[in-house]
């Protein structure tokens, strides 16, 4: 029920908004924000509720295909967090947009709700055709909003955005249709089965088609041509949604639709990883030279998502939680930065970095928020960004030291451009005289502050995010018990040699023990008397038995 509501109700909300008064922005904004809060609450409930699915309803049959297309929604940890991002950011966008679009707030809200529905559909769809339907549907409200509410170049930006992303996913449509003609139905598993049976050449073509759509959406170098102009010209609240939630659809697509369906060759995997890393460096370098505040943020987003894609294709064991935390952290922090940049633009009337400055003495509250949002985007430990980037680094480490080194290099670059950004916008003296526009409203400031606090909370307790990925394990591992017994037998004997310990370690690893459990068992084996190691291992044994 929750799933249906999250996907369909936003469209209903959009229709409801049509019925509100066009003139009275106040009343329509109240309704919109109330509904936004409702959706955010539902998405939190979705995360709390764990994995759920709806019943598969037959939707329609495509001529020439074996099975029908279903309307089938499912949620898992990754999807529900993405839904949280999309509804949460939409809520803040609805709040923040009150300051920008006074006259036609109603139309803006209609667009945002339709976009939210389409995004939720993308993340929750369990059927490939349904996924593709929503994936394409996202583009239209976004393009309309850009054309209606954007900056000076808005028409060009809207056209570039719409055409680039639609053309990018057109091959995927053909590929989908082709797979449908061989697969039993359009579910993920039958897709995977069908693709396995195809010759390798066909597989590669299909893979390329799928990849292209996600490469464009993320975007990954060299398909980022639409991004900077779109994010810069779109109204800031929309840019926040685009980068915070919509661009995640690309990374999401890699994880949920590419990795399970296609048997990837090692070359393809490492190629994609390096492409991601290159994008990370490229985005950071472009951000160093950006003169437009929103373009800087756009390139910064590109860099972070490049890192996320590199993390995905590390295919490490730690990949999924690492990338998920990174995506959530980036969604919140980049979103907050776009909102704040929007406020800065509203106040000063420009987003050129050289024309800004000196806001910290004029608007201390705004500048505090701005400064902290900037610092949190630097992945300082204690923020969610750090947990995400560190664990992605850890995942990349599986592929060797070099990828991790490159990723580390991007962290240095990100400090360089982000500090320059902060300095240009809020420090120093104002570069020019200007008529001050609307300041931060209390509700707006509060909602951004909540986002920043969330970043801190997830930074100190990322289990909120990572636990949603853990499926409760109930099976006992007989191999583990065996090893433990052996270990107990060995205890009385002479201390083990390094080789034996190494062997034991790998056996334990094969038996599915975690690192620290292994370490403590080994410490025990060594006849180590340090009480801590013993209690630790006891704890871990207890945990295992609890889990059983």
């Amino acid at each position: 029920m929750l799933l249906h509501l999250l996907v369909l109700a936003p469209f209903v909300a959009a229709i409801l908004m049509v019925m509100t008064s066009k003139e009275d922005a106040k009343s329509s904004s109240r309704l919109a924000i109330l509904m936004g809060i409702g959706f955010t609450a539902m998405s939190v409930a979705l995360i709390a509720g764990g994995s759920v699915s709806t019943e598969a309803i037959e939707w329609f049959q495509i001529p020439g295909c074996k099975g029908p297309v279903y309307y089938y929604l499912t949620s898992h940890g990754l999807a529900s967090w993405m839904v949280f991002l999309s509804s949460g950011l939409s809520l803040v966008a609805l709040i923040s947009a009150r300051g920008i679009t006074c006259r036609s707030y109603r139309n803006f809200a209609i667009g945002i709700f339709s976009l939210m529905g389409a995004m939720n559909g993308t993340f929750l769809a369990a059927d490939a055709v349904l996924f593709f339907f929503f994936f394409e549907a996202m583009v239209i409200p976004a393009a309309v909003l850009i054309a209606g509410f954007g900056g000076k170049d808005r028409m060009k930006a809207a056209m570039t955005f719409a055409i680039y992303t639609l053309v990018g996913s057109a091959p995927m449509m053909v590929a989908l249709w082709y797979v449908l003609t061989v697969a039993d139905n359009s579910m993920l598993i039958s897709f995977a089965v069908a693709v396995q049976g195809l010759p390798e050449g066909t597989q590669n073509v299909l893979l390329g088609c799928f990849m292209l759509a996600f490469l464009v959406k993320t975007p990954i170098f060299p398909f980022h041509g639409w991004q900077a102009i779109t994010y810069a010209e779109a109204p800031a609240p929309l840019s926040a949604i685009l980068t915070g939630a919509m661009s995640k659809a690309g990374v999401f697509g890699f994880i949920v639709w590419v990795l399970p369906i296609f048997p990837l060759s090692m070359n393809a995997v490492s190629g994609m990883m390096w492409l991601g890393l290159f994008t990370a460096v490229y985005g950071a370098l472009m951000a160093l030279r950006a003169t437009d505040g929103k373009k800087l943020l756009a390139f910064s987003s590109m860099g972070h998502l490049g890192l996320a894609v590199a993390g995905v294709f590390s295919l490490s064991e730690a990949m999924l939680p690492a990338v998920l935390v990174l995506l959530v952290a980036h969604g919140i922090s980049a979103g907050a930065q776009f909102y704040l940049m929007g406020i800065a633009e509203r106040m000063t009337g420009t987003r050129e970095l050289d024309q800004l400055g000196g806001l910290s003495s004029k608007n201390p509250v705004f500048s505090t928020l701005f400064g902290f949002a900037g610092v949190m985007a630097l992945a300082v430990p204690g923020t969610a960004g750090f947990v995400g980037e560190f664990s992605v680094l850890l995942a990349l480490w599986d592929m060797g030291p070099l990828p991790a080194l490159v990723a580390g290099f991007t962290l240095i670059l990100s400090a360089a451009y982000m500090l320059r950004f902060i300095q240009k916008v809020i420090f120093g003296k104002a570069a020019r005289e200007y008529e001050e526009g609307r300041r931060t409203s209390p509700l707006e400031g509060f909602s951004i502050a909540v986002m920043l606090v969330l970043l801190l909370v997830f930074g100190f307790h990322p289990a909120f995010i990572t636990n949603s990925l853990v499926e409760p394990e109930a099976t006992e591992n007989p191999a583990a018990a065996q090893v433990l017994n052996n270990a107990a037998l060995n205890n009385g004997e002479a201390p083990m040699t390094e080789e034996e310990i190494h062997q034991l370690d790998s056996t334990l690893a094969a038996a599915g023990f975690k690192d620290d459990e292994r370490a403590s068992i080994i410490a025990q084996m060594k006849g180590d008397n340090s009480s801590e190691a013993v209690t630790k291992s006891e704890n871990s044994v207890k945990e295992t038995s609890d889990a059983e």
Binding site: G64, V365, A416, H461
Partner: protein, 664 residues
């Protein structure tokens, strides 16, 4: 017994409360009441200090361990938030919270009337929180939280007066240079994780692992990997502790308020690199190559910075280079596995350098912001208390017998000579066998020479500032006044420490209290490497040599500067000519090695690659448009053609469907 978690919690609470006050009051004209804010700002660090003191007296031999909760738990990686209170963290915490409280007290006077009063103290409390976490944590990842946290606070406080873009640039530089080091730290942790899983990030597990390796005679197997990790950690330390090559940020960091320089850039944060080496001592003891690198880097840094200190006219810059030089001593000591000596120098240095900085702050305060020593002079009569404090601290830093620096510096020099096992490997030249040439004498000599230079530049500072006659303008002379009591009290306490802190470990008179408290932590690491010089040398020899060095330096300073006519100050206080080349040597290296290549790369991306891509994209678009125009010509008003085209299209579609195996 109080929980360890309370110690960092107090400053964190302080930070939150003061931050809230700062934000709420930012709209008002007047700002919050300074008395109230100041009380809060001192209260929380003082509470923390009280907690540490209480714990210190009741600490069991093995230390106290406490795990608060889990932090990160993902496949392959699990780290807890846990604290470790042992001999090492006890000493670090005592002086961090103690000096932190004193400097907070001093700041009330120094920052009086500043618009950002509450914000300043919020940052100071945040700094203390991070610093406490850094030294109290029981694993590397949590230490890294403090490590970057102190870097962040340093950034915030250097750029505290952010209306002046120069300060902001200094702050940015500090953060970015530190970031380079931090990446080393981060990669070092990853290397360790590959060796022993995420559990090895815990200090106890790590030292157990090391002792297991030693007991099992497997040192050779792990040394290559650990050496890489060690070098990476050391890169992290060079960033935070301003060693070659990442030292350029510290002199610039003097842009911040002076109490900040005293607390962060002299007494506490910059010593965290030395702390980390001591904490990982058991690992570093196994790595002779890394240790040699550390000795060489420390030696070069100490010498280079001491010479650079001679050239500065800005009183704070002199102290900044002096700090770098003293940190070089500490690193040299770490490099010969004398971790207790290095921490002892950290401890005494914290007192006398903080006293020097606070004294300099009082001088600057008295002269209404003047920092150029060429415009000072004769302040001994005008600000006698400040002068006395600074002279005591001066005697401590040059190593005058009986003062704090004498004990710690001589200990380091002695250990350098006795323990340094560096040598030039033997080689054959013209048929002559040349045996291994030990370098311990060279290292010792450089250390001693640096001690002489230290005495010269510090003597110059004292003479230019307090002796002779006042060289500033006549109007400014009338306004010179002694600092208020709230500033003097912390200074006097620190001066007291600068005199007596050394007696915690006065080897020559048989007091070894300090060494004994550190022994459980670093003893094993120090015992691993046998001293290079086995012959017994009387420690008095070293003490005498050290004293001679100090006296010689002071004498040279007196000869050169006491009678010399100081050239009138014109323009900026920055050194010029060859002096500037020496001072900004590493800045120019950074420029050519780091900044310019990155800018060139960015230029290539922006101007070449991106433009080519955009051109390709628009060309494709243009081709599509042209094709579309061509196809549009089919759109004719002839029904027959239209129908024929439609039928053709339909047939084509059917063929495609049939060919791909579908049914109609």
């Amino acid at each position: 017994m109080i929980s360890l978690g309370l110690i960092p919690l107090f400053p964190l609470l302080g930070c939150i409360i003061l931050g809230a006050i700062a934000v709420i009051s930012s709209g008002s004209k007047k700002g919050p009441a300074e008395g109230f804010v100041g009380t809060l700002a001192v209260l929380f660090p003082a509470l923390s200090f009280a907690g540490v003191a209480l714990l210190s007296f009741n600490m069991p031999e093995g230390g106290i361990r406490e795990t608060l909760c889990n932090w990160i738990d993902i496949p392959m990686f699990r780290v807890d938030i846990g604290f470790l209170f042992d001999g090492l963290s006890r000493i670090m915490l005592l002086f961090v919270t103690g000096i932190g409280s004193l400097i907070a007290l001093y700041s009330i006077g120094y920052m009086h009337g500043d618009r950002g009063f509450a914000r300043y103290f919020a940052y100071i409390n945040l700094f203390l929180f991070s610093m406490i976490v850094l030294v109290l944590s029981d694993n590397l990842l949590l230490t890294f939280l403090g490590w970057e946290g102190v870097g962040l606070c340093s950034y915030l406080l250097i750029g505290f007066w952010n209306k002046d873009l120069k300060n902001c640039q200094a702050a940015n530089k500090a953060f970015i240079v530190n970031r380079v080091g931090d990446i080393g730290f981060l990669l070092g942790m990853l290397f360790l994780v590959t060796v022993g899983g995420s559990a090895i990030l815990n200090y106890d597990v790590l030292s157990n692992f090391i002792s297991m390796v030693i007991n099992g005679n497997h040192v050779e197997i792990v040394v290559p990997v650990l050496s890489v990790a060690g070098i990476l950690f050391f890169i992290g330390c060079t960033g935070k502790s301003a060693q070659i090559p990442l030292l350029t940020w510290l002199p610039d960091a003097m842009a911040g308020p002076t109490p900040v320089s005293a607390l962060i850039h002299a007494a506490t944060m910059v010593t965290s690199g030395v702390y980390l080496l001591a904490r990982l001592g058991s690992m570093f003891a196994l790595l002779p190559v890394v240790l040699d690198i550390i000795v060489v880097v420390g030696m070069l840094t100490a010498f280079w910075a001491a010479v650079a200190g001679l050239f500065q006219n800005d009183i704070k810059k002199v102290l900044a280079y002096s700090t770098i030089s003293q940190l070089g001593y500490m690193f040299m000591a770490s490099g010969v596995c004398a971790f207790d000596a290095s921490i002892f120098h950290v401890f005494t240095h914290a007192f006398f350098k903080a006293a020097l900085f606070l004294g300099a702050g009082a001088v600057i305060h008295a002269l209404a912001g003047e920092q150029d020593m060429r415009k000072m002079g004769g302040l001994l009569k005008k600000t006698p208390v400040t002068a006395c404090v600074m002279i005591f601290a001066f005697l401590a830093i040059v190593g005058f017998p009986g003062f704090a620096g004498f004990w710690s510096k001589d200990l380091i020099l002695e250990r350098l000579f006795m323990n340094c096992s560096m040598f030039i490997p033997g080689f054959t030249i013209f048929g002559h066998e040349v045996p291994n040439i030990p370098l311990n004498g060279v290292v010792y000599a450089v250390g001693l020479a640096t001690a002489v230079i230290t005495a010269v530049y510090m003597g110059r500072l004292i003479i230019l500032t307090f002796f002779g006659s006042y060289r500033g303008s006549k109007e400014s002379e009338e306004h010179i006044h002694e600092a208020p009591a709230v500033m003097l009290i912390p200074m006097v306490i620190l001066a007291f420490g600068a005199v007596f802190a050394g007696y915690l470990w006065a080897d020559s008179i048989g007091i070894k209290f300090f060494a004994e408290t550190l022994a459980p932590v670093v003893g094993a690491a120090q015992a691993y490497n046998t001293p290079a010089v086995t012959a017994h040398l009387n420690p008095v020899v070293f003490a005498v040599l050290g004293t001679v060095a100090a006296l010689l330096g002071m004498f040279i300073a007196y000869k050169i500067y006491a009678k010399a006519r100081i050239p009138a100050a014109k323009g900026s206080s920055a050194p010029e000519g060859g002096k500037a080349t020496w001072t900004f040597l590493f800045d120019s290296i950074h420029k050519y090695v780091g900044i310019i290549p990155v800018n060139v790369l960015a230029w290539i991306c922006d101007v070449v690659v991106d433009k080519v891509l955009a051109a390709a994209q628009w060309t494709l678009g243009a081709i599509a448009t042209i094709l579309g125009d061509g196809v549009a010509s089919f759109q004719v008003r002839k029904v027959r053609v239209q129908i024929a085209l439609s039928i053709l299209g339909l047939i084509a579609l059917m063929v495609v469907v049939l060919l791909t195996g579908g049914t109609l």
